[in-house]
Symmetry: C2
Subunit: 100 residues, 2 copies
């Protein structure tokens, strides 16, 4: 309960704080199995830009990429995502409805 630091939580949120990266996560969640350059076809962005976004998600620990021949296969990192979800849950759990 609430063992996540503000920095960790902010880092996760920041990684998800761009429409393209949300779209990437959504695409990975939808396909279930991993994808690689197919993401480039889905998004209206250059290959280098998509690769950059994937790097951000990878460095945040939300996504995992394993090299498979000339291509790289990506998938969501379930453990991290579940921790993100519960961290947000903890954050919002203790809000009371009283206001000014």
């Amino acid at each position: 309960m609430d063992t996540t630091t503000d920095e960790q939580l902010a880092a996760w949120a920041k990684a998800l704080g761009h429409p393209a990266r949300v779209a990437i996560v959504r695409a990975l969640a939808a396909r279930g199995t991993c994808v690689c350059g197919e993401i480039v076809e889905v998004l209206p962005l250059a290959q280098s830009t998509v690769s950059q976004h994937l790097k951000v998600l990878r460095e945040a620990g939300l996504v995992q990429g394993t090299v498979d021949g000339p291509r790289t296969c990506y998938c969501l990192q379930g453990d991290s995502l579940r921790r993100v979800q519960s961290a947000f849950g903890d954050l919002f759990a203790s809000l009371c409805s009283c206001c000014c």
Copy 2:
């Protein structure tokens, strides 16, 4: 189910994508009732910086501020936060454990 656009979800995440803003949300959740300039005392930041962060949270719809005399009283916007939480839940719900 998944009625939130990538832009909306990213905007929420972006607003939470800074340690100071997570700290503000946490402080508001802890105090339950609204706070105003007390937040400045909690954070190691200048008053103008905190005010800026509050503006970001307000524009994202996560926080509500009502003017009360010379001061402004802030509180978490429960409805939005619940929607944020469920949107993240939907995002991560459909992840399968199969990977590369």
